[in-house]
């Protein structure tokens, strides 16, 4: 094992003004900085989207509440959904992907660094445009404000008759821009992973995180584009009086639903596959075992990618499709559970017999495993058409997909934060605060989303502004709202821990977890050039080979 660095001679970092530092961040094309920009941007919107959720939960705390107006409530659920999907989940996952993929495959940067920066700023501008609607949505009509059509924006709610003012335009243009940004980033991911791997890193030796981001990138290309097309059509309807979704002129509202969900369902997997990627990196390191069933994991991911494009209409059972469509989409929904189940077994197989280290990253992974399993089971329930007719658009559905997105994806993201924070910042986080964050968030999550299933089964529809007393919903709504405050406190602990650790945390060193992938071979934080010499790998765990020259992995692969 040798140590090396590139000595930067003659360049002494001058003390720079805030303006100069901002300038370097705004003009940067470095994948690590863009990754961090994505993550910070997403964290800001996470706080905003969380506040919107809190406002809704306070409104639903008791029957006949008037904490906010009905119009504002509609804006809140629309903005909450749109923000959390497009401006929190996607950018935060793109951020981690941007930061980690080149490091893990031994590359200097992404394939197209300027396209990378362009994509980030497009997405960022999309978010600003969406939120500018709070000021500019009124237009000349004196009505509107923020979008209030729900995050699906079903026709005819988006028609001029029902959505006066410019709120829908802000919604559609904001998402259009963010969509172009996502496509640019996806192109970058695929090109980077296929073309910039360091010598020896064959596809069969890539870290699973790179593999899963490759699949995600390919899915973005085929899933975001239909949304982009549908948004262009909606723009034409709104700005040029076209008739795509105008039922008065023979247009079809159902066509929008199909176009939206052709995007909408693969989108779930676009979000969850990078979360799978985090789990697949963290679980082996904290179990001190290589991942169980690497080729099967890759195959299952590719399988999910394909099948997820044939399940979209399980969001539409209640619109009245024929029995063949209902049967097809029920079966395909059941099928997607198979590769997902394989993955869960593989993670359990990795942990089985391992020497588990119960630090924050692993705790969040274990939370993920349990919660994602339950989310998958309620998903199978909702995927059965007859069950779906009973409970669609109830709080049962809301509880189900929050189990996926919060209990699954967000837990994985928190785990990833703790796992890679030492690499990104060069400092260790505070383990006690991290565990406090885990338990607070776990309790809050289960209070909120376990008990949200029950009013759904009792018939409480989603998106209602308020409700009558005496339907048996009151106690459940109180518990759900109490859980939100646990989650808020947990998140404050999380942010405080990160801020404290950036300035006061102990130095992390190159490899605080005794891990095996390439990003841990360079310094924390990595230098601009990532690797002083181009790495050469011979197995899936190059750092293991270096640490154990007597028993390297490549003898067995």
């Amino acid at each position: 094992m040798s140590s090396e660095s590139i000595a930067i001679t003659g360049v002494r970092e001058p003390s720079r003004s805030i303006g100069a530092i901002l300038h370097t961040w705004i003009t940067t094309v470095d994948h690590k900085r863009i990754g961090i920009l994505y993550i910070l941007y997403a964290l800001v919107f996470l706080v905003i989207g969380g506040l919107e959720a809190t406002i809704m939960r306070i409104q639903l705390l008791v029957p006949h509440n008037h904490f906010v107006s009905p119009e504002f409530f509609n804006q809140m659920f629309t903005m909450h959904g749109t923000t959390m999907i497009f401006f929190v989940a996607m950018p935060i996952l793109f951020g981690f992907g941007n930061y980690l993929v080149p490091l893990m495959i031994g590359a200097r940067d992404m394939a197209f660094p300027r396209l990378n920066a362009f994509s980030f700023w497009l997405s960022a501008f999309g978010g600003f445009l969406l939120y500018f609607s709070f000021i500019g949505g009124n237009g000349l009509y004196g009505a509107g404000g923020a979008p209030d059509v729900g995050w699906w924006a079903y026709a005819p709610l988006t028609s001029k008759a029902f959505s006066i003012g410019h709120s829908t335009e802000f919604w559609t243009l904001g998402l259009l821009l963010a969509g172009f940004g996502s496509i640019g980033t996806a192109i970058n991911f695929v090109a980077t992973i296929l073309c910039l791997r360091c010598p020896g890193m064959t596809l069969g030796r890539m870290p699973l995180l790179a593999w899963l981001n490759l699949v995600t990138g390919a899915m973005v290309l085929f899933a975001i584009s239909p949304l982009t097309a549908a948004q262009i059509m909606l723009c034409l309807d709104r700005f040029l009086d076209a008739h795509f979704f105008d039922t008065q002129a023979g247009g079809s509202a159902v066509l929008w639903m199909h176009f939206f969900w052709i995007f909408g369902h693969p989108e779930v997997y676009i979000l969850v596959i990078p979360a799978f990627a985090f789990i697949s990196e963290i679980v082996p390191v904290f179990s001190r075992k290589p991942i169980f069933g690497y080729p099967v994991m890759v195959a299952a991911t590719v399988g999910i990618g394909f099948v997820s494009f044939s399940v979209w209409a399980h969001h539409m059972f209640t619109i009245g499709m024929n029995s063949y469509a209902n049967t097809f989409f029920t079966i395909s929904t059941m099928v997607v559970g198979i590769p997902t189940g394989i993955k869960i077994f593989n993670w359990l197989g990795t942990m089985w017999g391992g020497k588990l280290i119960f630090k924050a990253p692993l705790l969040f992974c274990i939370g993920f495993l349990f919660q994602f399993l339950i989310a998958g089971l309620t998903g199978i329930m909702l995927g059965a058409a007859p069950f779906n007719w009973q409970l669609n658009n109830s709080y049962f559905v809301v509880a189900h997909f929050h189990y996926v997105i919060v209990g699954g994806i967000l837990f994985a993201i928190f785990g990833a934060f703790y796992y890679w924070f030492p690499k990104m910042s060069g400092h260790l986080y505070n383990e006690k605060l991290a565990k406090l964050h885990f338990w607070l968030f776990l309790i809050g999550f289960h209070l909120t989303f376990d008990f949200m299933h029950i009013p759904g089964i009792l018939g409480m529809p989603r998106r209602i502004y308020t409700y009558e007393p005496g339907r048996g919903w009151e106690i459940w709504n109180v518990i759900v709202t109490i859980g939100v405050f646990f989650q808020i406190v947990g998140t404050i602990v999380f942010v405080a821990n990160l801020l404290y650790s950036i300035f006061r945390g102990a130095p992390a060193g190159n490899d605080p977890w005794d891990a095996w992938t390439l990003e841990w071979s360079t310094t924390s934080p990595p230098p601009d050039y990532n690797f002083a010499s181009v790495p050469v790998v011979n197995s899936r765990r190059p750092l293991w080979d270096i640490k154990h020259p007597e028993d390297p992995d490549w003898r067995y692969e």
């Binding site: 140590s3 590139i6 296929l194 791997r197 085929f222 584009s225 097309a229 023979g250 310094t523 050469v536």
Partner: protein, 205 residues
């Protein structure tokens, strides 16, 4: 933290013999193929909408009344695929005159196609009274053909840029891969026109 300590990283090198040669695909081609994949999805949605709305307009004019087959424009656009192929082939052999000639012809043929589309639209709007808001046919026709025309326009801007660079002798043999990447986009625009032509002028009429 001392700056020196942060700059030390572990070199990951190999003592075992590496496979003879390390070959990876060219990133320009992969990136362009990804863009084409995304664009194909966008066009697919517009084509699906077009097919779905055939015959569903509540008022006239209908496609059979107003549309005529744009044979000449189609021949021009499709032959431009051949000329751009010959241009890239010339560049690979460092035959710069052939490159410039075929490249200019590609640009000219693409421009003729765009002008023909403009003529068709002018005829439809001013003589036949068909606009994007007239009926569902107008909505789907102008958006699908317009989306394609937009891609032709972007392609023409690219063609013109490279043409100027070539006229100032800034395009060399070593750039043939980059130029080839752009040619992939132009071939894609041509293939899309085959689909649009079939859907709009044959199936939909």
């Amino acid at each position: 933290m001392p700056q020196g300590a942060m700059l030390v990283s572990t070199a990951v090198t190999s003592s075992a013999p590496l496979e003879s040669q390390w070959v990876r695909p060219y990133k320009g081609h992969v990136g362009m193929l990804c863009l084409i994949a995304a664009e194909s999805s966008i066009f697919t949605i517009f084509v699906v909408a077009y097919l779905y709305y055939i015959g569903k307009s509540l008022s006239g004019p209908t496609p059979r009344e107003v549309l005529e087959l744009p044979i000449f424009a189609t021949v021009c656009l499709l032959s431009s695929s051949l000329t751009i192929h010959l241009a890239v082939a010339g560049l690979r052999k460092a035959n710069y005159n052939a490159f410039r000639l075929w490249w200019f012809l590609t640009f000219a043929l693409g421009s003729i196609f765009l002008i023909a589309t403009g003529h068709e639209w002018h005829h439809l709007i001013y003589d036949k009274g068909l606009t994007i808001s007239t009926n569902l046919f107008g909505t789907t026709y102008y958006s699908l053909v317009g989306l394609h025309a937009f891609h032709v326009t972007v392609g023409l801007i690219g063609l013109l840029t490279i043409l100027f660079l070539a006229l100032f002798h800034r395009v060399e043999q070593e750039h043939s891969k980059n130029v080839d990447t752009f040619a992939m986009y132009w071939h894609f625009v041509d293939v899309v026109w085959v689909v649009v032509f079939t859907v709009v002028y044959i199936v939909g009429r």
